[in-house]
């Protein structure tokens, strides 16, 4: 038997001014199940709340309806009051008779009638409410960061600083990512290695951080607070625990013609290698594609020279499993392949380079020891043309539809550095728009023009033509002058668009995290939850979420870390109890709900059912993970058999409200 109490608030004159509160209480007291009805000037006040508490105790109320302001205002207040009187807090419903009644109507009669109907709807709903308790799940106090670039490093350091264990999985032999390949950083022009490598060392030395370098995530199971992740440690044919990073093997290795991937193939290295001097972990790796010993069993020089006995030609991939409470995706980016842009002669001439290649060409640890030389004949370039938006803002299908965001600034940086070091080199930058929002960014670009004399030309390069004399004839338009230009350049630098790392898509599938059409991870809310994925417990850091520069990446990395810390400090996760649940006897396992769920909260389990003839049968039925479900209700409508329902907003409850309103 329902015992419902109705409490009508005057809200001073806010409600009572246009609604006859006494008449409302009187009318509602005759509704079925209502055993108590009262009105009071301020229901949310201490004494108002006491009125509710007393009534609950005195009348043994099973449900409470408060006719007052919006539930967005005081729902929590009244729920707490009910709970303190021993009534489940989800047995409280609010009829919004202020914002949605008294404040918008002037006529007392109409407003009172409407208030009664709203009250009725709330009573009809509360009669069908069920006590709900927020479920609790324990939290594994360890985080996983996928990707060891500046984003991953910063996130890991911040999480470790808060005292939590954190693992970094990096697919390359060393952490550092793209920033390690960059020469200088804008807008301050400090050297990237100088600010990055100390952070890398911090990671290595922090006892809370464990680095799985040369490793990949293979599988992800579980949910927020309780992920189980399979990690593959790829065989590097060197025992990490023994290798001291002395580098003797790399000197003695006879296979010196291996392309140096860290320098983007601009020079060569040995088959056993340490990517760069400050690599973390500083351990050698054998490139199996080039090592003679691994390919045909002839050589073994590195093993002979290694005093630590670290070389192990028989090393196998190692598969490990770890538990985590939160996962941060920091998989970063790559410049796009330029196969669709042969008009710029990238494939035809070695003197046409990408901007990232230029970083290596200018870097002191790069192929030319920091002197900028043409790759083809190692001569000093006197004219350099920069082409912006190569593959960015391209809707023709050849490139990417978005703006890559970082190119305007790094091109200004390159132009400035070149003009600074080689004043006899003319630099032309062809741009469509110069986009420099950011602190001190536009000033930086203007400095390139005004102080360093870089020629910025509005227009696009149409074609780069390698000439017999080794020069590159650049044909372009100068839109402001209304001219077609022909510039004989020594080098052409292409600002290639950036795209998410290729591993991101398979990772997103494993994580059930959503992606946009460009393979960037989607954030939970574009404005308000920019570092969380819609999947609970998965966080986003860096360019994997969208193009951004280093300052932005670091900011987002720290924000993601803060979110992770906020999750890991909790011993248990309390979740919103208004979530979906499947009626297993009705569910036919069709997967309709699973497909619409934006959170991947629905899985399927095989369950044994007793049949009427006393036999048992195993059926596949939907099962909602309470920790992951956010309670949107998309599945309840998608379910063809009506097995899915949403606690707190059940089909029955909403229909009861509809009925009450239409009565």
């Amino acid at each position: 038997m329902q015992k419902i109490g109705v409490f009508v608030c005057h809200c001073g004159t806010n409600i009572a001014g246009t609604v006859d509160v006494k008449a409302v209480a009187e009318a509602l007291s005759h509704e079925p199940g209502v055993v108590f009805a009262a009105d009071y000037p301020y229901m949310c006040s201490e004494s108002g709340q006491n009125l509710i508490k007393d009534a609950i105790r005195e009348h043994g109320l099973t449900g409470v309806v408060i006719c007052s302001c919006s539930p967005r205002m005081h729902e929590t207040t009244f729920r707490k009051a009910a709970a303190s009187a021993g009534l489940n807090s989800y047995m409280v419903e609010i009829a919004n008779i202020r914002e949605q009644c008294s404040w918008i109507h002037k006529d007392m009669k109409t407003a009172t009638e409407k208030a009664v109907i709203l009250g009725r709807a709330a009573i009809a709903k509360v009669a069908l409410n069920t006590p709900l308790t927020a479920s609790e799940t324990p939290v594994t106090k360890r985080a996983l960061v996928i990707g060891g670039g500046i984003a991953g490093i910063q996130t890991a350091l911040d999480i470790a600083d808060a005292g939590f264990e954190v693992d970094i999985v990096e697919k390359e032999p060393t952490i550092g990512g793209k920033m390690a390949q960059i020469d200088k950083t804008f807008p301050t022009l400090d050297c990237a290695a100088c600010i990055l490598t100390p952070k890398m060392v911090d990671c290595a030395q922090n006892e809370k951080i464990h680095i799985y370098a040369y490793s990949e995530v293979e599988s992800v199971k579980g949910f927020v607070g309780n992920f189980t992740v399979g990690i593959k440690k790829k065989a590097r044919y060197v025992d990490e625990t023994k290798c001291t990073g002395c580098g003797l093997c790399t000197e003695k290795c006879p296979m010196k013609k291996t392309p140096n991937l860290f320098n983007l193939g601009l020079d060569t290295r040995s088959a056993i290698y340490i990517p760069f001097a400050q690599a973390v972990p500083k351990v050698a790796t054998i490139d199996a594609d080039y090592c003679n010993m691994l390919k045909n069993g002839r050589c073994g020089v590195c093993s002979k020279v290694c005093t630590a006995g670290a070389i192990d030609y028989h090393q196998q991939d190692e598969h490990i499993e770890e538990k985590y409470g939160a996962i941060v995706v920091a998989t970063g980016f790559n410049p796009i392949k330029l196969d669709n842009f042969d008009e710029y002669a990238y494939a035809q001439s070695p003197d046409v380079v990408t901007s990232l290649e230029l970083e290596r060409l200018m870097n002191a640890a790069g192929p030319n020891g920091g002197t900028l030389l043409r790759p083809s004949d190692k001569t000093h370039p006197h004219t350099i043309v920069f082409v912006q938006c190569v593959g960015s803002r391209d809707t023709s299908g050849c490139g990417k539809p978005y703006c890559s965001k970082i190119c305007c600034m790094y091109t200004a940086k390159h132009a400035m550095l070149i003009r600074d070091k080689y004043p006899d080199t003319e630099v032309y930058v062809f741009y469509i728009d110069v986009r420099t929002p950011g602190k001190n960014f536009d000033e930086f670009y203007r400095r390139a023009v005004e102080e360093y004399g870089v020629h910025y030309i509005k227009g696009m390069v149409g074609k780069v033509m390698p000439q017999k004399n080794g020069k590159l004839l650049v044909r372009a338009s100068d839109l402001l002058a209304g001219e077609q230009l022909k510039i004989e350049a020594d080098m052409v630098v292409l600002a290639a668009a950036i795209e998410p790392d290729k591993t991101a898509r398979s990772l997103a599938t494993m994580l059930t995290a959503s992606m946009d059409t460009n393979d960037f991870f989607t954030e939970a809310h574009p404005k308000l939850r920019p570092v969380e994925s819609p999947t609970a417990g998965i966080f986003l850091s860096g360019v994997c979420q969208g193009p951004k520069d280093i300052p932005e990446t670091v900011a987002q990395a720290s924000a993601a870390a803060a979110k992770v810390i906020g999750l890991l400090v909790k011993d248990k996760l309390k979740s919103n109890p208004c979530i979906a649940h499947a009626n297993e006897t009705l569910c036919n396992g069709c997967s309709s709900c699973e497909r619409v769920c934006p959170y991947g909260a629905i899985t399927y389990v095989d369950k044994e059912f007793r049949m009427p003839d006393r036999t048992t049968k195993i059926r596949r039925v939907a099962s909602v993970n309470a920790a992951v479900c956010q309670g949107c209700g998309a599945c309840t409508v998608a379910c063809p058999s009506g097995a899915m329902d949403l606690s707190g907003f059940s089909n029955q409850q909403i229909m009861a409200e509809v009925d009450a309103i239409c009565r």
Binding site: F341, D342, E343, A345, A347, M465, P466, Q467, K468
Partner: protein, 258 residues
């Protein structure tokens, strides 16, 4: 193997050698080119306007004719190839166009003109195969440095032509290698010779063509080869010091059927 063959008007008059060498070479390679019993001039240039229907019909007829014959259609002249390919592409992608053409032809034009169209070079690459061609070469042109001139018609628009990489093609270079010569790669090989503008502004055509052969000459080519009679005409008119010949002539020479 039998293919339908669309020679086009110029190959019947001023570019007879382009046609004759192609037929002889195809025979030597075991390919039968069966000329369409009835064909009309393609019009020389594709009208891009979407409200121009009549000018596209001769290509549609050729496609339908070839469909009746039941073989893929081989073209040789770059212009014919371009017009027929673009017409077919428009039919396939533009519903409105397909509808209007269907009204003219009183049939389901899209379905009845879905013949596969290949250029003679594609025939060599995809059907014969350059490796196979190499085996059939009796008279390799060793030591000859040859500049392939694509012009625009074979390559662009690449969405319709699907011929080769429009900015860095290699089909003609591969062909040159197959017949034992050395290809010369020069940046102007896919730029326009001036085309029909020679009727309107001969000086402009000459300027464009000159830029092409100068670039080829810069890179020390001995010859320029082309598949287009108009390209050849423009290059010769602009007083190219390099001989400009049809690629089929070299093919015939290499196969010893000249």
């Amino acid at each position: 193997m039998i293919f339908s063959y669309y020679p086009g008007c110029t190959l019947k008059t001023k570019a007879k050698e382009l046609d004759a060498y192609a037929r002889r070479s195809a025979e030597a390679l075991g390919i039968t080119l069966s000329e369409l019993p009835e064909w009309q001039c393609c019009g020389g240039v594709y009208t891009t306007a979407e409200d121009e229907i009549a000018t596209k019909l001769s290509s549609v007829r050729a496609l339908m004719e070839a469909k009746k014959e039941g073989h893929a259609l081989v073209t040789l002249c770059s212009a014919c190839h371009n017009v027929i390919k673009q017409t077919q592409y428009a039919l396939n992608t533009d519903d409105d166009m397909a509808f209007k053409v269907g009204n003219y032809m009183q049939c389901d034009a899209r379905a009845e003109a879905d013949t596969k169209v290949i250029h003679y070079l594609e025939l060599l690459r995809d059907i014969v195969g350059f490796d196979e061609l190499k085996k059939n070469v009796k008279n390799p042109l060793t030591g000859k440095k040859i500049a392939a001139y694509y012009g625009c018609l074979l390559l662009r628009p690449s969405s319709a032509m699907q011929f080769d990489n429009p900015e860095n093609p290699k089909i003609m270079e591969d062909f040159i290698r197959a017949i034992g010569a050395t290809p010369v790669i020069y940046p102007m090989r896919n730029e326009c010779c001036g085309g029909y503008i020679t009727a309107e502004d001969p000086a402009m055509a000459k300027k464009n063509s000159t830029a092409v052969w100068e670039s080829a000459k810069d890179f020390d080519a001995d010859y320029i080869i082309t598949a287009c009679p108009l390209c050849r005409y423009n290059l010769i008119k602009s007083e190219s010091p390099l001989p400009v010949i049809y690629f089929t002539e070299l093919l015939a020479e290499a196969l010893d059927v000249k």
